[in-house]
């Protein structure tokens, strides 16, 4: 039971942390992309649709990453070249996405509700022939599917990136754009890179939500994009911090899923539980942080 809960919180953490790391790249360059929710939603749709059509999960993920990369770059381009406010544009993309997926699923698949894909390619799971005698322990430690393994790799890579010159430049640009320009850093390109990372990561995160289930429904991201944003904001510049917060949030999502299974709470309340828990996390985290450093205006 406990290992199950732990295992499912790892599963719910991974998409959140991947999306959060994507968002934290854009935050690091001082241009937080709040279109995460919408971008993930579109990737959810694209990945199952393409995977079912091509019978290849890899193509599905690739298509999802491409489309979310495009959306992410769209936010950036509108902001950079048309001078639009980035938060407003991000909000706009969220709205477009929620309209778009319903529109697409009703025109392409003829339904606005939950869509089950019959012939989904299965996602390979890495099975090690160890710990045969202890099934729960094995599920906890191994038995991850390829997407989840990629996600873990992504966490590691994001951490590595902060150690490279590119990571340093991103940070410098976020902290002080004028100075970065004066020093001749290519501010625009660095930012484009971080938006590309953000898009790729959100694409992966979106696929992780829909591909393993083989279904799509318009509300399927269920605010997880916003949870990821919270993790990115609280985690700040440090990918490990982002990971930490995401783990707490992933746990709360897993917990609310359990509640949904084992109790008869009304749907609306279940939907709001992750949000409420997240607000709780924000509260506790910020109190701890301010307690440590003293308040500053």
């Amino acid at each position: 039971m406990l290992t199950q809960l732990l295992r499912s919180s790892i599963s719910s953490t991974l998409p959140i942390v991947v999306a959060a790391l994507g968002a934290s790249f854009t935050q690091r360059v001082g241009k937080l992309n709040i279109a995460i929710e919408g971008t993930m939603l579109v990737s959810c749709f694209v990945s199952v649709y393409v995977a079912a059509g091509s019978n290849s999960w890899l193509l599905g993920v690739t298509a999802a990453m491409t489309s979310s990369c495009l959306l992410s770059l769209f936010v950036w381009l509108i902001h950079r070249y048309l001078g639009a406010n980035i938060f407003v544009t991000g909000l706009g993309v969220n709205l477009v996405a929620s309209g778009l997926v319903v529109f697409l699923s009703s025109t392409l698949l003829g339904s606005k509700g939950t869509i089950f894909f019959e012939e989904m390619p299965s996602i390979p799971v890495l099975r090690l022939e160890v710990l045969e005698h202890s099934e729960p322990l094995r599920t906890l430690l191994f038995d991850y599917n390829v997407l989840e393994l990629i996600a873990m790799l992504v966490v590691f890579v994001s951490w590595l990136i902060t150690k490279t010159p590119l990571g340093l430049r991103m940070k410098a640009i976020g902290k002080n754009e004028t100075v970065a320009r004066q020093l001749g850093l290519n501010v625009d390109w660095t930012r484009i890179w971080s938006f590309i990372f953000c898009g790729l990561f959100c694409g992966l995160a979106g696929s992780m939500l829909s591909l393993p289930l083989g279904l799509f429904v318009a509300g399927m991201t269920n605010n997880r994009g916003w949870l990821a944003l919270v993790a990115a904001v609280l985690g700040g510049d440090n990918p490990l911090g982002v990971l930490g917060v995401s783990m707490v949030l992933g746990f709360s999502v897993a917990l609310s899923n359990r509640l949904q299974l084992f109790t008869t709470l009304p749907a609306e309340i279940v939907l709001s539980i992750p949000l409420i828990l997240t607000l709780g996390v924000v509260l506790i985290y910020s109190i701890l942080k301010t307690g440590e450093r003293g308040r500053s205006p």
Binding site: K163, T164, P165, L168, K175, V179, R181, G184, L185
Partner: protein
């Protein structure tokens, strides 16, 4: 030792739009390798504009720039850097949140595969940093003093291969000893064949340090001469100033206006102010002097109410004001000039009017029942700016179109115009030309007949010029009080602080 001419400017002109201000009307200047060149001129003469053009930040409308005898056309700072020309800004261009090391190599990181090659980088900076006593590479820049930051900028410029260094008012925020060290550094650069151009308002300094002096007046070169052929009077005349003695009026010392007892202030774990007590009477202008950031500026922030002390009390006219808000303190007649001009003293997004009215808008007759009387406000602000000689085309213009010195005048005008009882100011005369410095000194003398001033500074010259009594701070503690009789010359302060620490 003097080498060939590296940079030459011919008849450079620049007009700013939409205000149509002709900042430069035809400037000629040349810089030689292995020499120090001082650029002088009144506020708004166009000095900053000139160096920004040289550094590629803005483009001239007309005129030519030659580097090594070839005509160049800089579009970006990068172009200028490629020719070895680097501008060190008055408000420094460092990323405060990063470490010294990261700042030095930002944009030119030596790498191994994809990663930063720390070893290679350290090697590169090694002999430079030893020669210049650079602070530890891993400290964050926020924690450093102004002088250290400046040094980092210069080291970085050298790492980038600079041979022409442009410094915009490098000494404006430095203390005396820091200035000395900066000049030593410049001298050693000069020996290595760098050309150095620095802007300053201190004529004596210019004549002492520079090999050559150029004076701008209303956007034109009016004087360009070897320092050996010049004296202070000639330069002052060229700038269009009358030379004058600094005034000091003696008035009857009145009642006690401010009493501070046992103020202690912490920032995190650090003790910023350690049980500071002092008392100021009407008719006294008191300087708070420390070599660097020794708590004198923080004390003013405590007095105006920006920072909350851990313990201690503040009395103003025998009334306990420790718990009053900033607004209430200002209403009692306390005025305050913050240290950071651009971020704290001004709203750069706003117009001149909006910036100038901030201390009065709430009061009758400017506001009645929450309703603003714009016409009255405009008249009032016009009068105020005129009296303090702030040059403006229209007070509706954005405030950021004013030159550094005019901004400073605007700030002082706003705080001094209504004759405050207690005038708190951080470095009030830095960045002002001699004429205006003189004017401010006069105003501060007048102030004495009804109020008092507390002037926090790390510039001995300023403390000496404006104050009757100087309190010396060191590391958050009040060390010593110097009275008028002892204030014979600025160097007294510096040597005294040296003894104390």
């Amino acid at each position: 030792m003097r080498g060939k001419t590296i940079v030459q400017l011919l008849n450079v002109q620049k007009t700013f739009y939409p205000s149509g201000v002709k900042a430069l009307k035809g400037v000629n200047l040349f810089l030689e390798a292995g020499s120090v060149h001082a650029l002088l001129g009144a506020n708004g003469a166009g000095k900053t504009t000139l160096v920004r053009i040289l550094a590629g930040e803005i483009q001239p409308d007309a005129g030519e720039i030659f580097v090594d005898g070839r005509a160049v056309n800089f579009r970006t700072p990068k172009d200028a850097m490629r020719h070895g020309i680097v501008l060190v800004h008055q408000n420094l261009s460092l990323v405060e949140e990063l470490t010294v090391f990261e700042n030095l190599f930002l944009g030119r990181e030596p790498r191994r595969l994809f990663f930063l090659d720390r070893k290679k980088a350290e090697q590169r900076v090694k002999d430079l940093s030893e020669r210049l006593f650079l602070v530890a590479l891993d400290r964050r820049v926020v924690d450093l003093s102004m002088a250290e930051k400046q040094k980092i900028e210069i080291v970085r410029a050298l790492l980038f291969g600079a041979r022409v260094l442009l410094l915009d008012e490098p000494t404006a925020y430095l203390s005396e000893s820091e200035e000395e060290r900066l000049f030593e550094l410049l001298a050693s650069l000069k020996r290595n064949g760098c050309a150095i151009l620095f802007i300053t308002h201190d004529l004596n300094q210019a004549l002492k340090i520079a090999d050559r002096v150029t004076v701008l007046r209303e956007g034109e070169t009016v004087l360009s001469e070897e320092t050996s052929h010049l004296n202070v009077r000639q330069v002052i005349e060229a700038m269009g100033f009358r030379s004058s003695e600094s005034p000091r009026v003696d008035v009857e010392i009145g009642e006690e206006l401010l009493k501070v007892s046992d103020i202690t202030l912490r920032s995190g774990k650090r003790l910023v102010l350690d049980r500071v007590s002092l008392s100021v009477r009407q008719g006294e202008n008191v300087g708070l002097f420390g070599l660097g950031n020794d708590g004198q500026f923080d004390l003013l922030e405590v007095l105006i109410g920006l920072k909350k002390p851990v313990s201690g009390r503040i009395f103003f006219q025998a009334r306990d004001i420790t718990r009053l808000s900033i607004r209430e303190r200002r209403r009692l007649g306390i005025a305050y000039v913050p240290k950071d001009r651009l971020r704290e003293a001004l709203n750069l997004e706003g117009s001149i009017l909006e910036n100038a009215m901030v201390n009065v808008y709430r009061e009758i007759p400017f506001a009645k029942f929450g309703l603003l009387n714009w016409a009255l406000l405009q008249d009032y602000i016009h009068g105020m700016l005129k009296e303090f000689q702030v040059e403006t085309n229209s007070i509706m213009q954005p405030v950021k179109t004013l030159s550094g010195g005019n901004l400073q005048r605007l700030i002082l005008a706003r705080e001094l115009f209504r004759g405050p009882k207690l005038f708190l100011a951080c470095r009030p005369t830095s960045g002002l030309d001699a004429q205006v410095q003189h004017y401010i000194a006069e105003r501060l003398q007048q102030l004495k007949s009804w109020g008092c001033a507390l002037i926090a500074t790390n510039d001995a010259e300023e403390a000496f010029g404006l104050c009757d009594k100087v309190l010396i701070f060191s590391k958050g503690r009040l060390k010593r009080t110097l009275y008028k009789e002892q204030l014979t010359e600025p160097s007294v302060l510096v040597s005294l602080v040296g003894e104390q620490t």
